[in-house]
């Protein structure tokens, strides 16, 4: 059956509001009597609050209240707290002040007397690993997977063993391996042993994480900036200290999150708790400057990788060690994801991974688009080129030799995957980009400019299962598709909703998407993160629509005779196959569902549904034909999203600046659901990749742990002028067998592949100079071109 909607472009329902300014973000909501709150944040990177004297502040005209860490629910350490009396990084919120206006609140903060005890701090993971190095937290200096904060110190011998500029490799917090790594290296024709650094960088979401909240009739109404909707609901309610049914969470639009607003981050509940305390609505506006402290960041790596290649370029063995800069709290598992990504993208015959995630007194870390996968892409892809040069193999060929197919295995456990078309993506891209012709131009000089070409690959897992779908056909003949996934801006909330319309053969014009506000009766869905939406939500909507189709057929059989199997659907009617005149419109069937009640109208639902879905189904029960089901479709293995980027640049050896001549991104995202949306993601994801590769980084004063990249202009995301004038995109467009419409997610690797391609092209233009460090900034290029030593030490982090 040919698809009508899947694979076709459409106008997303929310886009008109975005171009007219009607789209509402958290700071656009108002409530009568609303006051403003501001945060008092730590002036020290690690300290203990000994006393707080807010009396003078509270006595000021217009000050309504102060909220301290002692008054808010305690989040189990070392997860990010709401407010804290033990700040672990400079800029961490200690308390909040509410006043009738922001200036009064800020003035009041100036009147608060805070007595702080300084504690040891560090901004350099390797320093913390030294025998007597400082600990970022009193209870330890590393995050041990599944255990929490621990303490690991390396011996002087560990440090002495490493050669100049090489990463020392002492006791890891985690180690795994498969295959015979030693044999792999001894059989290798070329072995590389490389130390590398990838910088931490901020998320730079255009919308700061402002939030507004009020209480009414025992319920908390919270307007937040969130990528996710249903998935974060219980966590936010728990953080506030209420039951989920006492929270109304509104997240219609999210002005960018890139991972930093994927989960129930605690900061957003401050206005809710303040509003509860003072009995007035509270707006908490977060500034751009504050975003650089409390807006989260991607962890940086200090890594070392040994790669063994056969003569034909096949990767025989990988030995990877990653020291991650974790920030002060729980952080994120980039380091382990990086290793898993390597195991899939290069399908090594043997691999060992060791690593340790070290706590530092720098901003909280969380997932940023391709967490770990994209750092390892920009670190290792250039090394594939280095090996290709040594083996005299084309960069496309060495990647093709190692490219994962459907039988590739994933991670430490070497588990199965659902599909992989990386070889197809490489071939399709090389053909479309004219790789062979462009490669022939590599090294061409034009004045001070040199042509360079590059390829980059990246991976991220791209799908989950087991969530719920909810749809409703109304007596007016409308299909309401309830989606609780969230609205990050990819329009995947809408493109995946179209699966329900596809299965029910409904006109898209007759569909209404219910979303953006928990009071709109949304099902239990996964968060909008991890490139999962296209896979996960097509399944839930397929499940709900399939349930609705079954109910339509049952109702028709009840009224028109025969058995449900005798019926089919078309043109928003259910009809008897043997005598198509025996038919019933969806509108009529919906009216009959209301009369029949029970399962037909949502009054009885499956026991295996999530309580949140059950509550939503109950709320719409009796208002139409309700299709509601849990996604029980088989899923066996990791769902890979894979991407390849092809790039041509001109590198100016005098200025160190590059100009991107052309870029092509190719996606393996299974069947393409929304071509225009995919094209937008491929190209815009590449823009973020260019930033990761050559622009963005944290910079700290190591003496005081004061950050210096705290503005868009300092640690800066790419602008129009940093990207090519035009960009190109393509997709393999072959189905994943474990998705009912063949779809997989794709968002994250589209960034990593582009960043990696750009680094490869810069190295190519320099005739094979490999920096082993990102971002590659102009002075590094100038030094390399002039044969001068770099101004940084190889393992230096958080510096310019």
């Amino acid at each position: 059956m040919a698809n009508r909607l899947i694979g076709a472009n459409f106008t997303p329902p929310d886009i008109r509001a975005k171009v007219t300014g009607q789209a509402k973000y958290a700071e656009d909501f108002r409530a009568d009597g609303m006051v403003f709150c501001r945060l008092l944040t730590s002036p020290m990177p690690h300290a203990r609050v000994k006393s707080i004297d807010a009396s003078e502040a509270l006595a000021m005209d217009g000050v309504v209240g102060v909220l301290t860490a002692a008054e808010v629910p305690e989040i189990p350490s070392p997860r990010d707290p709401i407010l804290t009396n033990t700040p672990h990084f400079l800029g961490e919120p200690i308390l909040a002040v509410a006043a009738v206006d922001e200036t009064t609140a800020q003035d009041a903060i100036g009147k608060i007397k805070l007595d702080l005890e300084r504690l040891p701090f560090t901004v350099d993971p390797l320093r913390s690993l030294r025998p007597k190095g400082p600990d970022a937290r009193e209870e330890g200096n590393v995050m041990i997977p599944r255990e929490g904060v621990g303490r690991i110190k390396w011996t002087p011998e560990d440090f002495a063993e490493a050669g100049e500029g090489e990463l020392p490799m002492g006791e890891p917090a985690l180690e795994w391996s498969f295959g015979d790594v030693d044999a792999g290296f001894s059989n290798a024709k070329v072995v590389l042993d490389e130390t590398f650094v990838t910088a931490s960088n901020s998320h730079h979401s255009m919308e700061p994480r402002s939030a507004m909240a009020y209480w009414d009739n025992g319920k908390c109404y919270l307007y937040g900036s969130s990528q996710s909707q249903s998935f974060v609901h219980p966590g936010i309610a728990r953080t506030i200290g209420i039951e989920p049914d006492k929270l109304v969470y509104v997240a219609e639009n999210c002005g960018g999150g890139f991972g930093s607003k994927g989960g129930p981050y605690p900061l957003q509940v401050i206005p809710a708790l303040m509003a509860k305390k003072i009995g007035r609505p509270v707006m908490m506006r977060i500034s751009r400057a504050e975003e650089y402290f409390i807006g989260q960041a991607r962890p940086g790596f200090q890594g070392r990788v040994k790669l063994g290649f056969r003569e034909d370029g096949r990767v025989l063995a990988v030995d990877l060690y990653i020291v991650q800069e974790n920030g002060p709290n729980a952080g994120f598992g980039d380091w382990t994801s990086a290793a898993n990504a390597m195991s899939l993208v290069y399908t090594p015959e043997a691999m060992r991974f060791r690593g340790v995630s070290v706590l530092t007194n720098t901003p909280q870390r969380t997932a940023q688009r391709g967490p770990g996968q994209n750092q390892i892409a920009i670190a290792v892809e250039p090394l594939m080129d280095k090996a290709a040069r040594a083996l005299e193999i084309d960069p496309v060929v060495i990647r093709g030799v190692n490219a994962p197919g459907h039988d590739a295995k994933y991670g430490a456990e070497q588990g199965p995957i659902t599909s992989a078309y990386q070889g197809e993506a490489l071939d399709k891209g090389a053909e479309r980009f004219g790789w062979r012709e462009r490669r022939a131009r590599s090294g061409t000089r034009r004045g001070s400019k040199v042509t360079g070409v590059g390829i980059g690959q990246a991976y991220h897992s791209a799908g989950s299962s087991g969530f719920d779908g909810l749809v409703r056909l109304t007596p007016e003949g409308k299909l309401h598709i309830h989606t609780g996934v969230g609205n990050l801006g990819t329009y995947s909330y809408a493109s995946t909703s179209r699966v329900a319309a596809e299965i029910l053969k409904c006109d898209w014009e007759n569909c209404v998407i219910e979303r953006g506000d928990s009071s709109r009766n949304l099902p239990w869905n996964f968060g909008q993160f991890g490139s999962n939406t296209s896979f996960t939500m097509t399944r839930t909507n397929f499940a709900a629509a399939t349930d609705a189709v079954a109910k339509l057929k049952e109702i028709a059989a009840l009224d028109l005779g025969g058995s449900p199997d005798d019926y089919d659907i078309a043109d928003e009617t259910v009809f008897r196959r043997s005598s198509p005149s025996r038919r019933m419109t969806y509108a009529k069937a919906a009216a009959r569902a209301i009369e029949l009640g029970g399962k037909f109208s949502g009054e009885e639902v499956d026991e295996d549904l999530n309580p949140l879905t059950k509550a939503s189904a109950m709320a719409i029960a009796g208002k139409g034909l309700v299709g509601v089901a849990k996604d029980r479709i088989e899923k066996n293995g990791t769902v890979p999203a894979l991407a390849v980027g092809f790039i041509e640049i001109e590198l100016d050896l005098d200025t160190g600046k590059y100009e991107i001549v052309d870029y092509l991104g190719v996606a393996d995202c299974g069947t393409v659901v929304h071509p225009q949306g995919l094209a937008a993601q491929i190209k815009s994801g590449a823009v973020m990749g260019f930033g990761l590769a050559t622009l963005e980084r944290h910079i700290y004063d190591p003496a005081w742990a004061i950050p210096h990249s705290v503005g868009l202009y300092q640690a800066r995301p790419p602008s129009y002028l940093d990207v090519p004038l035009e960009m190109d995109s393509d997709a393999v467009d072959l189905p994943d067998p474990q998705n009912p419409v063949g779809a997989k997610g794709i968002g994250e690797p589209l960034m990593g592949c582009a960043g990696a391609a750009l680094i490869c092209a810069i190295s190519d233009a320099l005739g094979g100079h490999y920096f082993n460090r990102t971002p590659v900034v102009p002075d590094m290029v100038i030094n390399a071109a002039a044969g001068r030593p770099q101004s940084h030490k190889p393992l230096q982090v958080n510096t310019d």
Binding site: T20, A23, M206, G255, G711, Y720
Partner: protein, 210 residues
């Protein structure tokens, strides 16, 4: 670290002088203008003290989207805050509040400006156009808005109002820009989603319509 400059500063605001609170309300009624019910500075505070000689006239008539709007603006108040918190025009976004990102872009006399860094009191006699004012009164979208929809320009949408306003201002100044010229004109509007290619496609498509 919190910088006091991050917050919207309302310090030392002089009170209303020439116009009493009663007259102010009367003038608002007479002009037909509606001031947003949410004041980030409560009226009781704004009008609490008596006249202070030599203080700035805080009441100002603004021409916004073709309508005259009377507002009580503090001397240091930025246009973005006036639009968002006094006139209810929340389409203008604050992404940085310090001239870095362009999310707050509006047109002042048909030229794109960052409203976060424009003082409201300098807007006397100027024509201000916000994203809410570029579609026709009947709701027909401006060609830039339509083209941004057709080309799927916006992603998260937070920078979109600013992108729209810069593009509209560009096409008023240069109805047929080259792609390079369009890119240069748009360069002051950051998009973290990175949707530059699709926005530029939109500008070029709109240029064919205007």
């Amino acid at each position: 670290m919190t910088d006091p400059n991050d917050s919207f500063s309302l310090e030392n605001c002089p009170p209303i002088t020439a116009v009493s609170r009663r007259e102010f309300i009367k003038s608002v009624i007479a002009s037909g203008a509606i001031v947003s019910s949410v004041l980030y500075r409560p009226a009781s505070v704004a009008g609490q003290s008596g006249a202070r000689s030599g203080a700035l006239e805080r009441l100002i008539s603004l021409n916004v989207n073709g309508k005259t709007r009377r507002v009580d603006a503090l001397p240091q108040e930025t246009l973005a805050m006036t639009l968002r918190y006094k006139l209810g025009l929340t389409g203008t976004k604050l992404g940085c509040d310090r001239s870095e990102c362009g999310a707050c872009t509006v047109m002042i006399d048909d030229v794109a400006h960052y409203s976060c860094s424009t003082l409201t009191h300098r807007m006397r006699g100027k024509e201000i156009t916000t994203v809410e004012g570029v579609a026709s009164e009947t709701g027909e979208l401006h060609p830039v808005q339509q083209a941004f929809m057709d080309e799927l320009g916006p992603q998260c949408g937070f920078c979109t109002p600013g992108q729209v306003m810069t593009a509209v201002a560009l096409l008023k100044d240069n109805p047929s820009p080259t792609r390079e010229q369009a890119r240069d004109a748009m360069a002051g509007n950051l998009c973290r989603c990175g949707a530059y290619d699709h926005y530029l496609n939109g500008v070029m498509r709109a240029a064919m319509e205007v």
